[in-house]
């Protein structure tokens, strides 16, 4: 499978664009920019899924693309924007690790993902391997975002962008059963709903969405 063929290159390019947006997510300083970047990542993921549906001829992937677009590019960002406005949140993202250090860690994780996946999947098509490596990078970067952000909304977006990586991996593997993708997409919605419930409760109890305030209640809670 050479790299000169358009269908596979485009799939690759979409994956790379999703990874690029993961970096953009790490880079932003303002909450609304983070939410918008997440919405863009969702739209790109929907494009990638739709393209894979076209290339593999699987109708189910179009459904996945529609769900990804509807949920991650429209509904969830809208809900998050409303949440920010409602609690009149401080508009800055408070990183626990500096932006520069986060980016360096991000590149390290992406490199690590490459080095882990590519040799281990040596028996497969080159395209599938690179897609899996890209997807794992997106997953790890989402995890990095969860770890290095103190704001609850940023943590939720980190978790959701991690799920984006998983969906990217699932659509890249040809012939993945539809029930998997549909249920993954549905579970993402449930995750978002639960996170939203949390945010509402937390905002009411604490008047802020900074998870630092939760830290004092950790452990034995002295």
């Amino acid at each position: 499978m050479s790299f000169g063929q358009l269908p596979y290159d485009l799939a690759h390019l979409f994956g790379g664009a999703v990874l690029l947006l993961s970096f953009v997510l790490l880079y932003q300083r303002r909450i609304s920019a983070v939410i918008n970047a997440f919405a863009t990542q969702g739209a790109l993921l929907a494009l990638a899924a739709a393209w894979q549906g076209y290339v593999q001829g699987a109708m189910g992937l179009y459904v996945t693309a529609a769900i990804a677009f509807g949920a991650k590019a429209v509904l969830i960002p809208l809900a998050l924007h409303r949440l920010v406005r409602r609690f009149n949140l401080q508009r800055g993202v408070d990183p626990a690790l500096g932006i520069g250090a986060s980016m360096i860690a991000g590149v390290a994780f992406a490199g690590f993902a490459l080095l882990v996946v590519l040799p281990a999947t040596a028996g497969q098509r080159a395209l599938a391997r690179e897609d899996l490596a890209l997807a794992l990078s997106v997953v790890l970067l989402g995890g990095l975002m969860m770890i290095t952000r103190r704001n609850l909304i940023s943590q939720v977006i980190g978790l959701l962008s991690l799920e984006n990586g998983l969906i990217l991996a699932a659509v890249g593997v040809a012939g993945m059963p539809l029930v998997m993708e549909l249920s993954t997409a549905a579970l993402v919605l449930m995750l978002a709903v639960i996170a939203g419930v949390f945010a509402l409760q937390m905002g009411e109890s604490f008047q802020s969405l900074d998870t630092e305030s939760l830290d004092t209640h950790r452990g034995e809670g002295e």
Partner: protein
């Protein structure tokens, strides 16, 4: 025969660059004005300004040294040479064997060096301020450029610009993720090198926001004309580089006839116009970044370049 065509294309290219550079700056300025709802100066206005300035005698400070007198000539010479190396409408020009990406990066660095020295020469605070800021940005932008060159080199097997363009033109490589990362990195570097928003505002004269302007604050007359020429050459150089590498179609192959040159010229003008429009839209749409964020911006570009290089390295190494 090929040397003759090479010479002819090189001379035509030089003439094109000389004529086009200030017009390009004028066009970008005019487009920005129109997008902001103003009438804007005529696209040929920079030529009129330059011709006016060239006739005037430069006024130098009492303690200005030979650097203030020589730096504008060095900078404009270097910029023109670098612009001459980047092909516009035809490949295989006379100087093509010297057109190496790393050489171009070095020439740009030399020009920047001359500008920084000129800014610091007289000892004013603004000059020093501009010079330090410019050098700080360059410390991150240059590695990003070199990493992008590395990506091209891994893909094409050489940093020779003509060969890279030739290979990209064939289309055998197709679209690749690393090229996408390299494109983003190069765009960020181009913005930084040309002192465009969001890194630096080319129209500002407020002390706190100046970077490029601060270094040439003392220049006047002929010297100022040369500095403006130099900025135009750099802009043309960068846009031509981006067009040649990422939009390589339409360029005449080495040794082709005048018909191909005319075609290449038409395509080149179209590409420049499109890129100028894109630049104008981009500059009008976003605000200038706070100064301490520029290292983050350029650092991100550097890391993207690094990521693209790592990606390419690992995947070509394993397959």
């Amino acid at each position: 025969m090929s040397i003759l065509t090479g010479l002819v294309t090189q001379l035509l290219h030089l003439a094109l660059i000389l004529a086009l550079a200030p017009v390009l700056t004028g066009c970008v300025r005019w487009l920005k004005a129109r997008l902001m709802g103003r009438r804007g100066p005529h696209p040929l206005q920079p030529w009129r300004d330059l011709l006016k300035l060239v006739k005037k005698r430069p006024v130098l400070a009492e303690n200005a040294s030979i650097i203030s007198r020589a730096a504008p000539y060095v900078a404009v010479g270097v910029a023109l040479l670098a612009a001459a190396l980047v092909p516009s409408f035809a490949r295989g020009m006379l100087l093509a064997p010297f057109a190496d990406l790393l050489l171009i990066a070095g020439l740009l660095a030399l020009g920047r060096f001359a500008m920084a020295l000129a800014g610091m020469d007289v000892g004013t605070s603004f000059g020093g301020l501009g010079a330090t800021r410019e050098m700080a940005f360059a410390a991150l932008a240059e590695p990003a450029l070199v990493l992008a060159a590395l990506i091209f080199a891994i893909l094409a097997g050489t940093t020779h610009l003509d060969v890279i363009i030739g290979i990209f033109q064939e289309g055998a490589l197709g679209l690749r993720v690393s090229l996408g990362f390299a494109a983003v990195a190069l765009l960020a570097v181009a913005v930084a090198e040309n002192a465009r928003i969001p890194v630096d505002n080319p129209a500002t004269h407020l002390e706190l926001t100046m970077v490029h302007e601060a270094m040439i604050l003392e220049a006047s007359g002929r010297h100022l004309a040369l500095w403006d020429f130099q900025a135009s050459f750099r802009l043309t150089l960068w846009l031509a580089l981006l067009a040649a590498v990422f939009l390589p179609f339409g360029m005449a192959a080495p040794g082709a006839g005048p018909v191909a040159w005319v075609l290449g010229l038409g395509v080149f003008i179209a590409k420049m116009a499109a890129l100028a429009f894109a630049l104008a839209v981009f500059e009008s749409a976003i605000a200038k970044m706070r100064l301490f964020r520029v290292p983050e911006f350029l650092g991100a570009a550097l890391l993207l370049g690094l990521l693209g290089a790592v990606f390419l390295f690992v995947s070509t190494g394993l397959s």
